[in-house]
């Protein structure tokens, strides 16, 4: 499903070059649930953005369903993001001037679904998230947990095969965090591939596989199909 081949990425800031990713190779099978952990600045977010077609690597290839993502034209890459990938952010990134319903409608609109279809699907998704009575609330009129649930509904809108979540529980209280994790497990059971960056060891442990990044390299790979990657720490 997802494959990285010696992917490197470095940032140059005021003459200094930082290696965010340093020759990372990995393969994620369809339907896997991978957590990515590591110290701050180890390249976790960078890895996720590169997997999601948002950031071109300096070297290496990223394959999604056998297609080299960064050899596609930008508009084709946008289509991959639209159809195949669902993002969840730590800051939720809801559009502030749109209601909950409209926020969920955005990816459907981008995918060219008609108005009625958008409303039906968005309403169903928000009902699934227990927000049936919050459809017309703007993000500021929702609690933090409710905002993240709107973001989760939005992520599912186009029925993506791959879900990329960057610290989806980072801003939530433990209870809400639990429900978000359960939700990710649930969609994983539906057959979607989930890659989740987290700082929380307990959350990370709930994944089927755990990648540890350090200084832009994979330091360990727990629970992977290949036993050779077992953690030695």
């Amino acid at each position: 499903m997802l494959k990285m081949e010696s992917v490197s990425k470095d940032y140059t800031l005021r003459g200094k070059t930082v290696k965010a990713l340093d020759g990372v190779s990995l393969e994620i099978a369809r339907g896997d649930f991978v957590s990515v952990v590591g110290p701050s600045g180890s390249g976790k977010s960078t890895l996720l953005l590169i997997l999601g077609g948002m950031l071109s690597p300096a070297a290496g290839r990223v394959m999604v369903d056998g297609k080299s993502l960064y050899d596609l034209r930008p508009e084709e890459r946008a289509t991959v993001r639209k159809k195949t990938v669902g993002f969840v952010f730590q800051m939720f990134n809801l559009v502030p001037y749109l209601t909950a319903l409209e926020n969920v409608q955005v990816p459907l609109f981008l995918a060219g679904v008609d108005d009625r279809g958008q409303k039906e699907r968005a309403t169903a998704l928000l009902e699934r998230m227990g927000l049936a009575d919050r459809l017309d609330h703007k993000p500021t009129e929702l609690s933090v947990g409710q905002q993240q649930r709107v973001a989760l509904a939005r992520m599912l809108a186009n029925d993506p095969q791959v879900i990329l979540a960057d610290e989806p529980t980072g801003n939530l209280d433990p209870e809400t965090a639990q429900s978000v994790l359960s939700f990710l497990e649930e969609v994983n059971k539906e057959g979607r591939t989930v890659v989740m960056v987290t700082h929380d060891p307990k959350a990370a442990a709930r994944a089927k596989r755990m990648l540890r990044l350090c200084d832009g390299r994979i330091a360990s790979d727990h629970g992977a199909a290949s036993a050779s990657a077992l953690d030695t720490y």
Binding site: G52, M54, F89, N93, E102, P107, L110, Q118
Partner: protein, 404 residues
């Protein structure tokens, strides 16, 4: 949801920041519209006025300014009425008719109108009666179209020919616009400066300043004005042949303390004024393009910067750069449309209100100016927003998403 829903919602989300650039465009457009609107009517009025006018020479006070033809008989200075007698008794050839006038501002029901005193023909003739070889023995108009077929033409017809035969001291002829504003009909009474007039005739609409005037007997107006037997102007119908033979200079010699000008001279000034107005509207166009455009571009850049997280999110959700570009350009288009339409409305209102005061003409809305207004506003808005929109479309979504 469509792109326009998205754009529309955002537009109303940040109204305050929007206001400045929107107002810049709105004001610019309304100034262009009103200047253009007034110019058009002013030009039309010149043509009409020239057409309708029997007189071709004006006798004015020495200090008279000739800014506009329309106010030529509305000077602050006066000339003595005795000039009329002097002209009548002179041996000048080619004086076909004389119309002495005195105008004053009057307030009726809170509105300002002009009351113009005119001298009816019979009294003018009386002035000349005791002179042998009376000037008015000749037909009153050069071309001789005094309509002998009609023994007593109606006051309206008389007025149109600018030859009112008889006028009572308390009689008023009311211009079409005044009549409409005050809901007057013949037979009504009208209080002006404490004097009661009887409306004898509502004058047909002429499209000239006469529409917003009330005409009454010269001597009555002189009493109301309280300045003695004076005039603001004497309109003279001179025979074209005699004018070319130096009638103006001859009148000037006879009345050395007055200013004698031909209508063409005055209209020339008006045409120059119109020309200046036209140039002024170009100047304003330049100003609005620069000020409105810069303010718009500035706002758009700020808007793009402020919304970088939102743009990053949209890109993550699958928006291509085309969608982002269109989102900002559509916003610019809406702002341009709004600014253009509002600018047209405001500009037209300004023109209708200010037209009579600035240029002395009645101004009506011109629908084609809406196209001009919208065209200008949309063009400025789109051009000014293009580079900010392109910046948004090319934005690196990762940087935007990473910031907390």
């Amino acid at each position: 949801m469509q792109l326009k829903t998205l754009v529309w919602r955002e537009l109303f989300e940040r109204r305050n920041q929007l206001a400045t650039s929107f107002i810049a465009i709105l004001l610019g457009v309304s100034v262009i519209v009103s200047v253009e609107n007034i110019t058009v009517y002013s030009e039309k009025a010149v043509a009409k006025e020239l057409d309708a006018l029997g007189a071709n020479v004006l006798i004015l006070p020495k200090s008279a300014s000739l800014q506009t033809y329309y106010s030529a008989d509305m000077q602050n200075e006066e000339i003595p009425e005795e000039y009329v007698t002097r002209l009548v008794l002179s041996d000048l050839k080619g004086l076909d008719n004389l119309f002495p006038k005195l105008s004053m501002q009057v307030d009726v029901a809170g509105k300002k109108f002009t009351l113009t005193g005119i001298l009816p023909q019979d009294e003018l003739k009386a002035k000349a009666a005791w002179k042998a070889g009376d000037v008015f023995a000749r037909p009153p108009l050069c071309v001789g179209d005094a309509a002998p077929a009609e023994p007593t033409p109606s006051k309206e017809t008389q007025f149109r020919r600018r030859v009112i035969q008889k006028l009572d001291a308390a009689e008023a002829l009311v211009g079409a616009e005044v009549a409409a504003a005050l809901k007057l009909k013949p037979g009504d009474t009208l209080q002006l400066e404490g004097k009661t007039f009887t409306v004898s005739t509502i004058l047909p609409e002429t499209g000239t300043v006469d529409d917003s005037r009330v005409f009454a007997h010269l001597h009555t107006v002189q009493q109301l004005a309280g300045k003695g037997p004076v005039l603001n102007a004497i309109e003279v119908v001179g025979c074209c042949k005699e004018i070319s033979k130096g009638l103006v200079q001859k009148i000037n010699k006879l009345l050395p303390d007055a200013k004698v000008v031909t209508i063409t001279q005055i209209v020339d000034t008006q045409i120059k004024t119109n020309h200046m107005m036209a140039q002024l509207s170009w100047l304003f166009l330049g100003i609005i393009v620069i000020v409105g455009g810069a303010s718009m571009a500035n706002y758009m850049y700020a808007n793009v910067y402020e919304r970088r997280r939102e743009i990053g999110t949209l890109i993550a959700l699958g928006a291509g750069s085309g969608v982002v570009l269109r989102m900002f350009l559509l916003k610019a288009l809406l702002l341009g449309l709004g600014g253009g339409i509002a600018g047209y409305v405001l500009g037209t209102v300004l023109a209708v209100i200010l037209g009579p005061r600035i240029a002395g003409v009645i101004v009506l809305p011109l629908p084609w100016l809406l196209l001009l207004a919208v065209g200008v506003a949309v063009a400025i808005s789109l051009v000014a927003s293009y580079f900010p929109a392109r910046r948004a479309a090319r934005m690196d979504p990762c940087t935007a998403l990473r910031e907390t």
